[in-house]
Amino acid sequence: MPMDATLRGIRLVGERTLRIVERVGATVAFLGLTLAQSATSFRRFGLVIREIFYAGVQSLIIILVSGLFVGMVLGLQGHETLQNYGSEQSVGVLVALSLVRELGPVVSALLFASRAGSAITAEIGLMKATEQLSAMEMMAVSPISRVVAPRFWGGVFSMPVLAMLFSAMGIIGGFLVSVVVIGVDDGAFWSQMQAAVDFRHDIVNGIIKSVVFGIAISAIATFEGYEAPPTAEGVSGATTRTVVSSSLAILALDLVMTAFMLKGWN
C-alpha cells in the first residue's frame, strides 16, 4: 500500500530525527557533567598534561605533514589561478588567509577527531568493558572527574595549538612551492601576507574556531566512550560514531561560526 509505505517512511525519519536529537542532548548533558567535575583536573594538572601528550603531542606528526602538503597544494593552485589575473604575487595572501581562517582549524580538527578522538573513545570504552570504570566507582573515585575530565581538557588545550601549527606549516609549504620552486618574489609573498592578514579578524577568529572544535570533538569522544556498550562490537561502533559525529559537528559549527564572523558577531 503506497499510503502505508509513506507513513512508514515518515515514521522512520521521525524516529531517526528523535534519536539524533536525543543523542545530541545527552552529549550536551554529559559535557555539563564533565565541566561540573573538572576541579580535579585543574587541581592536579599533571593529569591534563599527560592527556595533552597523548592527544596533542602524539598527533603532531600527522598535523605537521598534512599542513605542509595542504600549503603546497594551495601554493600550486593559487599561483595557477592568480597568474591568469596577473596577481601571482598575492599567492602568499591566498595561502595564509585560506589556512588561518578555514583550512587550518577545520582540517586539523578533522585529523584530530580521527587520530585522537577515536583513541579517546576506544580507551574509555575499553576501560568500561574491562570494568575499570566500575572499579574506580567502587573506590569512591568519580570516573568523570578522574578519567573523562582530564581527557576532555587535554583535547581542548591541544586543538588550538595543533591548528596554529597546521597553519604555520601550511604557510611554509606554500612558500616552498610558490617562492622556492615557482619563483614568486619572496618579498612580495611575505609583505602582502603581512598587510592582508588581520590579527583580530583572521588569526583570533581561527583560534576561536579551533577551541570550539576542540570542545566538540572532546565532548563527543568522551561521551561515546563512556556510553559505549561493553563489548568489542560496542567499542568499535562508538569509535566510528566519534569520527562521523565529530566530522559533521566540525563542518556544521564551521558554517555557523563563519557566518557570524563574517558579519562581525553582530
Binding site: E131, Q132, S134, A135, M136, E137, M138, M139, A140, V141
Partner: protein, 266 residues
C-alpha cells in the same frame, strides 16, 4: 554478633524480568560469607546491590548502617571508602603500573606523603607475594598474578567489608588455592567482613564461614560448609557434587527436538 550487611525482602529486576525475589540475608561482622549459584542466577546482581551499584525495587539493603536504597552520592562514596571490591578479572587500571594500581586509592583519598604511600604499597604487595612485580604493567601479569594484585589494591585502605566477584574464575589449581588462602587470611588479619560470590564450590567451602545458595533469584539453601556438604536437598546435592542431571536439567527448556528438526510425528 552484629551484622555488617543486612538484606530483607529484597526484590530486584531488569525491566519486567524479576532477577531476585524476596531475598533475606545477613553477614555478621568478621565473617566470610559465600553466595553461590549457577551462572545467571542473580548472585553478581546481589553483590552489586550490596556495593550500591544497583538500587533495589523493593525491600532493604543495609551496609554498615547505611540504607542503600535511599543513599545519596556523598554518603555512598563515604561508604565505599570503607569497602574493597575484587572484580572478576581484576579490573586493574591498564595505564598504570602494578605499584600505581595499589597506591591509587591512597593517593586519591589520603594526604599521606609519597614515602609513606610507598611503604604501605610495598607491604600490601608483599602480603600477596608480589612485591617483585611492582614495576610491571597489568598486561605483563598472568591471570592469577593480576587477581592477586587486584586483591592488594582492594585491601589498600584496610576496608571493613570486602566484596569478591568470582575470584576463582579462570584460575589454574595452584593460583586458585593461593587466592582462596589469601582471601581467608586477609579477612582475618584485617578484621574485615567478606562477601564472596562464586560457583567454585570445593574451593569456597574450604575457606568460608557460611553459605547462601541462590537459584532462579531465590535463596534455596543456607548453612555452614559442613551443613552444606551433608545437605540432602536435591539442588544443593547436585550443585556441590557436580551431578549432570537433577533438579537442574541438562537441557534448557525447548520444544521437542523432532519439532526443531522438522521430523514427522514431532
Amino acid at each position: 554478633m552484629t551484622n555488617l550487611v543486612e538484606i530483607s525482602d529484597l526484590n530486584f529486576g531488569y525491566n519486567d524480568r524479576l532477577v531476585l525475589k524476596g531475598i533475606n540475608l545477613a553477614v555478621p561482622k568478621g565473617s566470610l560469607v559465600a553466595i553461590m549459584g549457577l551462572s545467571g542466577c542473580g548472585k553478581t546482581t546481589l553483590l552489586r546491590l550490596i556495593g550500591g551499584q544497583l538500587r533495589a525495587r523493593e525491600g532493604s539493603v543495609k551496609v554498615a548502617g547505611y540504607e542503600l536504597n535511599h543513599i545519596g552520592q556523598r554518603d555512598l562514596y563515604a561508604l565505599r571508602r570503607r569497602l574493597g571490591m575484587l572484580f572478576q578479572f581484576g579490573a586493574l587500571f591498564t595505564d598504570l603500573s602494578v605499584y600505581d594500581n595499589v597506591a591509587f586509592q591512597m593517593r586519591e583519598h589520603t594526604d599521606l606523603p609519597e614515602s609513606v604511600i610507598r611503604d604501605l604499597t610495598l607491604m600490601k604487595l608483599n602480603a600477596v607475594g608480589l612485591r617483585g612485580v611492582q614495576s610491571l604493567m597489568p598486561s605483563e601479569l598472568s591471570g592469577g598474578m593480576a587477581r592477586r594484585v587486584a586483591l592488594a589494591r582492594a585491601t589498600a585502605l584496610d576496608p571493613e567489608l570486602i566484596l569478591y566477584d568470582e575470584p576463582f574464575a579462570g584460575l589454574d589449581p595452584i593460583s586458585l588455592g593461593v587466592i582462596g588462602q589469601l582471601i581467608r587470611r586477609l579477612n582475618d588479619v584485617l578484621g574485615a567482613t567478606s562477601v564472596l560470590v562464586t560457583h567454585d564450590v570445593q574451593e569456597s567451602l574450604k575457606i568460608v564461614d557460611y553459605v547462601y545458595f541462590v537459584s532462579e533469584g531465590v535463596i534455596v539453601a543456607q548453612g555452614t560448609p559442613d551443613e552444606i556438604r551433608a545437605s540432602h536437598l536435591p539442588f544443593v546435592h547436585q550443585f556441590v557434587w557436580g551431578e549432570v542431571d537433577g533438579p537442574l536439567p541438562f537441557h534448557y527448556p525447548a520444544q521437542t527436538i523432532q519439532n526443531d528438526l522438522g521430523l514427522r510425528g514431532g
